[in-house]
Symmetry: C2
Subunit: 539 residues, 2 copies
């Protein structure tokens, strides 16, 4: 019997793999001799160095979304050639880092041609994302297409409609050309599942692109898409963005629509889930948000708050609190180095910088894990057991986050969360801090299947503060980031993360930081991030 069950899950997963394989744009596939050996860990430069893409294709696929729209609007490039270039680079990416679950080449090209036609006839772009190819995390439903959310048992679930977030982006002119990988359970700090396998980090293929939006982060960092749709309940946009050197925003909850996303345990409301962008510039994060919010999405989705996007252009007297260590897990040397450099450069630039002493991080971290576990992971177990697919190691780690609780306990913890939210709100005012600069994770991209500590991001989910990832432009450097063998960890979590660091493992990995703003202060947060980025990247 067990082999029958095994055969069943494998054949069900195979159907989704077949969809992926059939969808690959065949003309762009690399020949076997063009594919770099598995031993080549760094493939981030492959698009340029391989000589396979033309200079124009490189120019296009290295552009930001805003840059693309500008060039299409000034007739430099057509939407079709933009789309073809991204499909070509994405197909290359798929062969090198396995980031996709499905290509939508035909429909994307058809839509691009339609936009070119409209532009030709009217002389106007259709919207602020005219012709921008975007990638979308697989669990973001698309009409008539399978949406498995990383579970084999859902490999025959077809979405009745495009998710609302996709509809709003399409209204603004964007075109989804590729759907991206995610982990079993949607809860790993990694992106591997029993359907489309494991996504690799293009900076170092021995490392994880993060998760759960790891297909997205791999896509945007490799240049398969300039902009993508991720989702975040404990750090699922931010850790992937940080690990791959791209920008990512976890917006305040209930600003962007969740309708049409599939996951186990919808209806959980102690930890608000969100969708948000991954991109190659801060400007593109804002473009994504503004393009949707300018359409007043709350008129379509009554679960949203009617708060428009209120761009912030200038910030007077910005004060940045710097959280160097959350008191639970000490950051690895590269991250501490980046924090120190950021602090020095911000001070040098005349920005007000103060120390941000961690407040109740352990309590809030425990709260988050307890919320994830509140149903005893029954939703997760059902989705897994329905196919009998093998449980991946990080899913077992998730099972260790906690046990089923009663509704009585859940109410008590919800109330505790509200108290923490009020305390943080007061504390930021009391300390005069506008935004908090912090690690996004104890280290840079972890090795596959080893990412587990989400405390640097998940605390902000519980508090519902928006947070953005800023790549520093710095990378792990053996000469600057040696191990500190004298360090005595303060607890088990700290010991486990400390033991994972060895500078040579993390060769080439980008270093990023996280900036956190107040609830509903997404606009100010992005403006502050611009200020931080400018300082960090100054010579």
């Amino acid at each position: 019997m067990s082999s029958c069950i095994g055969a069943d899950w494998e054949s069900r997963a195979a159907k989704c793999r077949e969809i992926l394989e059939q969808s690959l744009p065949k003309s762009y596939l690399l020949s076997p001799d063009q594919i770099p050996p598995a031993s080549q860990t760094r493939v981030i430069d492959y698009p340029r160095e391989s000589g396979i893409l033309s200079e124009k294709e490189l120019l296009i696929t290295d552009s930001t979304a805003a840059g693309l729209v500008s060039q299409m609007g000034s007739r430099t490039w057509t939407a079709e050639e933009v789309m073809r270039a991204f499909l070509k680079r994405a197909t290359m990416g798929q062969q090198l880092i396995n980031f996709a679950t499905e290509f939508l080449a035909e429909s994307a090209l058809a839509q691009a041609r339609r936009l070119d036609q409209i532009f030709k006839e009217t002389g106007k772009i259709v919207g602020p994302l005219h012709g921008v190819p975007i990638s979308a995390k697989e669990h973001v439903g698309m009409k008539g297409r399978v949406c498995n959310a990383g579970f084999v048992s859902w490999c025959d679930h077809v979405s009745p409609d495009d998710a609302y977030v996709v509809q709003f982006l399409q209204n603004a002119g964007a075109i989804v050309h590729v759907r991206t990988n995610e982990p079993q359970s949607l809860m790993h700090v990694d992106s591997a599942n029993n359907i489309t396998g494991r996504t690799l980090n293009p900076w170092n293929r021995n490392l994880s692109p993060g998760g759960s939006s790891g297909g997205e982060s791999a896509s945007v960092s490799f240049g398969c898409s300039p902009l993508g749709i991720g989702s975040d309940m404990g750090g699922s946009i931010r850790m992937p963005a940080a690990f791959t050197g791209v920008y990512g925003l976890r917006p305040t909850a209930a600003r962007l629509p969740l309708a049409g996303l599939k996951a186990a345990g919808l209806g959980q409301q102690s930890l608000p889930g969100v969708v948000g962008p991954l991109a190659r510039s801060l400007e593109d994060l804002e473009l994504f948000m503004k393009s949707i919010l300018d359409q007043e999405p709350w008129r379509k989705d009554a679960s949203l708050t009617p708060v428009p996007w209120r761009s912030v252009r200038t910030l007077a007297n910005l004060t940045i609190g710097i959280l160097k260590d959350d008191g639970i897990v000490r950051p690895h040397p590269p991250v501490s180095r980046a924090i120190k450099i950021a602090e020095d450069k911000l001070r040098a630039a005349g920005v007000n910088v103060v120390e941000w002493e961690p407040f109740q991080h352990r309590e809030i971290y425990d709260l988050v894990n307890a919320f994830f576990a509140a149903d005893g992971f029954q939703n997760l177990r059902e989705a897994l057991e329905a196919s009998g697919e093998p449980i991946l190691p990080l899913t077992n780690v998730v099972y260790g986050w906690g046990k089923e609780m009663t509704v009585y306990k859940n109410w008590e913890l919800n109330y505790q969360r509200e108290v923490f939210r009020a305390q943080y709100h007061e504390l930021m005012k009391l300390r005069g801090v506008d935004v908090i600069l912090s690690p996004a994770y104890p280290g840079v991209a972890p090795e596959h299947e080893t990412g587990t500590y989400i405390g640097y991001t998940s605390v902000w989910n519980a508090l519902d503060h928006p947070a953005v990832i800023i790549p520093t432009g710095m990378h792990v450097d053996p000469s600057l980031d040696p191990e500190d063998s004298s360090y005595v960890p303060r607890n088990e979590l700290d010991a486990a993360e400390h033991a994972k660091y060895s500078v040579h493992k993390f060769k080439d990995a980008p270093i990023a930081l996280q900036l956190i703003g107040p609830r509903f202060g997404d606009e100010m947060l992005l403006a502050a991030a611009g200020c931080v980025e400018k300082s960090i990247k100054s010579p």
Copy 2:
């Protein structure tokens, strides 16, 4: 032993009663011969007919909040004389309908004199509620004062601060002069507890003022206060307002601050609780909302949504859906008569009126009751058992609403609630309906301890739609509202409510209707209510 426990709860409750008794403004107390006999059911006219209040005191205490501010601002009345008049009428009310838990006469008069002084010095009123006496439901915490939320066991709980809603109203110039009664558990459609007893309906003292904001509704209807703070999780502002012929608004959730309210089971978030106003005019409901929201309360309380009050002055092409019967419990004859008259008059006034077929009311009603019961009423039981106070009959009715559920089930029902919200949002658009006119309850004010069916209001709590009570100016009339003995009830709930009706029981009871708007459409809802009121009250 049991008598000791008895003695204990009784002595604890006695302390709160003592607070009330000590707080009564002695000089305003009626002499025994002035107090109407218990057999006199109607006392609504007593303030005028008794001759105890001067013409000026009647003028003041019959005013709306807006009217009071206008008169104080034009130097017709001082804040102190306004406050004295309301304290006098409220003391009278206390002796006739037992609506209060504590008078704040001294602090209120001191604050009124302070406002008069400021006005004298600056020539300006301090805010849009300058000198307006307001009543506040007892579970709205006030600094340094006991807040028992209707539980004997909390009779020694002292609030560390004024609730945020009180602070914002005070900032706007309002003065809390009296705190009002509420039922044991805060969940009855009635207002009786083991501490300060039972509140009566001034229109007919055999009837209930409703609950849980029944002290408030009694206060505003009798003229003890022009404006009051209630709270609503299943209809607790609206049923009381409807039963006593005053206006009441259940705003969209997360617009007004809840911080500083005390209740059993804080942390429950499947059914959003709200605070909101009870008043003598629609204009005052808006004044209350605008006075708070103009202060941007979200800057103080991060749990709120940053949505300002956006007054709506004119409505073009308003379409009203009329819900005549929710399909579960048929309204009693007076309510059906009012609905019919409203429909006819709205049509006559040229307003677009369509039938609103009930949609999933039974399912949503069941959902609400299940949410109330989700913790197995453990929070409620603990608060009751901590003192050993007797369980009142309606608390036992509440215990019958459902059983403890798992977190797994709670998530499933939360998701179902989201589906209902989306369906209603779509349905209103599809049917082209802006607002829905409906009963607020199957009947007018029920007899004491008999109000149980909350489906006409609670459905909108689950959906988080704002809803307002509009008194029609009509009253139960034996010649117009005879029993329909031929009616065959369709289910047990319907049979129970049908059996409660007998026209003579409900002598003098006012008839009100409920108007429901879309989520975050509070401003439009009040504008539409103005249109409905104007039509209904036209000759």
